[in-house]
Symmetry: C2
DNA sequence: TTGTACGCGTTATCAG
DNA sequence: CTGATAACGCGTACAA
């Protein structure tokens, strides 16, 4: 696509190299040293660890640096130290709103602590995920994996190389940040029970998804506790389309209330059910997970169990950065954050058919 | 938040340095050279430019590399060459769905051409945008600016340093990728005219937005052509909330059809209007721009003018990468892509009040 | 406190 | 076609 024509390379009159490396390339510590009349190593010290140099030479050097518009060369710095002031974040799908707040949260604490965040997308594939992770490992100081699809063992292998933090999944021996689903789910189920529902369906996500299993566990035990019947259904994929396709099974199950693995499924399901003539929530209640962007665009707006994804992102970044600051043997284990029910219009009292 | 307890640093028995740099750090070309019985420089040649070395030594080296699980060190490579096989993409807001497809498109062609995409968010601020851009310039080979908020001059200054491509805006002297709004807008306006509308409002975006100006121009001239009255209204910010706030002015304007700078505004506007008791589209038609994720979640689903954002992203990346491949003096100028109307439920025939 | 000298892993420039 | 050697820009023991 958009390939420029190849043939017209013939008559290239003046091969004007723009962006040339020649001439006044950016200044180095040597230039500063010359201007300030000191040794390059002194410049290095002054610019990295303030305090290891006398006050006046410090100022001398800083002035020269400012004048020469000096910027450190990250590569030259990374070579001897091995540190890049950079960490990676890999998400399954950049366009999945679930990850927005995670990205924001991680990004915010990154810049707050003078780190650069490198973001990558694994296209929902376990193998590309591993590939990207490996590629990244070469350029970053640490890695955050959000809802990873790869094996526990692969994650641990990565973690042996450099610090790794996992979000939305528990992996033994690796620091994790996971929402505790129980509070949000039990609120949701209690609300459903109070509204006259007797049978609840859970539409599951991808089979490799640790989080989907968690949620099903939570739903099942909450239902048990509230003396509701719980049934688990499968979905083809955790998207709006997947939700549409799940509608048949949901109907067939006889459940009057549905929780879905995520909001995308919930939205698709709701639309398909409405298209089939059902009233939401009068005839069937629908509850999603995550409270993604757009969850309140629907009619009725979606009831959902919200995870504090922003906190997850910033929490993971904090753990990672603390780990990198490396005061020693911190084993932050797993950080749990609370979930809560966001009650909107898609769930409510069941109106018995006449 | 989530600060780990500091005090318990006391009893740290074995300061086990995990992730140590010591011992079997990753293999270098020297290791390969030793194993293959050749000179390091030969290894370098064999691994970078295939063909500049005899077939059998080539294989020898490749085998050794594979055995030692060798990976190039990007920093060491970048130091002498100045090239990083990396380019940056700066968007105003990662959580704004408008940019999804741009990101995807750029990311896809990046990996297709063995480049790594570094993504950054400017938090909708012109100054952070410039700051991040400058920071990035040190680590990337080139830069893509999507809907930049900074001055033309700043962009040109950046472009003097390294190749820059701009999306959604035209900047003199810099390669640009811009959707041509005219086709989509004229389709939209013709449709409105055919449905009995006489007066059309345009709710504008940020004043610095080049694209917002383009769209207003398009709306005005299309209305002129169709003999409709066109009026321009302002918005506080290009978000759902901004759309809500614009509802009063829209009502006051007397227009029966509204085009908004983007879908977010359209969604907010529609919800507020509906909350006020208006029927969409019977009493008022609403048309957005971009066809973002969630635009069809609303009731009625949103009519919108779609830009091929994916194409924009991949197109910009292609231009940039071709530029970097640098066969010489390609001046791709600006690449225009077509827009089209996506007709959904939020626009339609005007039902005259009795 | 500051200067000296060397290494980080790779590419580029020469000879051979 | 291949081997030696000098950069690339910065950090850092070590010595002064």
């Amino acid at each position: 696509m958009t390939e420029p024509a190849k043939p017209d390379v013939a008559a290239t009159p003046a091969p004007v190299k723009k962006h040339a490396r020649d001439g006044k390339s950016s200044a180095t510590i040597y230039d500063i040293a010359r201007v300030a009349g000191v040794n390059p190593s002194t410049v290095s010290r002054a610019l990295s660890k303030p305090g290891r140099v006398s006050a006046k030479t410090q100022k001398l050097i800083e002035d020269a640096a400012a004048e020469l518009n000096y910027h450190v060369n990250p590569f030259a710095r990374a070579l001897p130290t091995g540190r890049t002031s950079t960490f990676g974040l890999i998400v399954a799908d950049i366009t999945n709103p679930t990850f927005f707040d995670i990205i924001r949260g991680a990004g915010a604490t990154a810049t707050a602590r003078d780190y650069t965040l490198v973001l990558a997308d694994s296209a929902e594939s376990a193998v590309t995920e591993l590939t990207t992770a490996r590629r990244m490992m070469a350029t970053v100081d640490g890695l955050i994996l959000a809802s990873p699809r790869m094996d526990d063992d692969d994650i641990r292998a990565l973690a042996r190389d450099k610090p790794v933090v996992v979000i939305n999944r528990e992996v033994d021996g690796v620091p994790c940040v996971v929402p505790d689903v129980n509070k949000g789910i039990s609120e949701a189920v209690r609300s459903l029970a109070a509204n006259g529902h007797k049978k609840v369906a859970y539409v599951a996500g991808p089979s490799q998804s640790w989080m989907s299993a968690q949620r099903w566990d939570g739903v099942r035990s909450a239902c048990e506790w509230s003396r509701l019947e719980a049934v688990r259904l499968e979905s083809s994929k955790p998207t709006v389309d997947g939700g549409r396709q799940a509608a048949r099974e949901v109907l067939a199950s006889g459940a009057t209330a549905v929780l879905t693995y995520n909001d995308l499924l919930a939205i698709g399901l709701m639309r398909e059910l409405q298209a089939a003539g059902l009233m939401v929530p009068d005839q069937i209640s629908i509850v999603g997970f995550d409270d993604i962007f757009g969850a309140d665009f629907t009619t009725p707006p979606l009831t959902t169990v919200r995870s504090p994804l922003g906190e997850c992102g910033s929490g993971a970044a904090t753990i990672l950065l603390d780990h990198l600051a490396g005061t020693g043997a911190e084993t932050p284990d797993t950080l749990r954050v609370e979930t809560e029910l966001v009650l909107r219009g898609s769930s409510g009292r069941l109106i018995p058919a006449k």
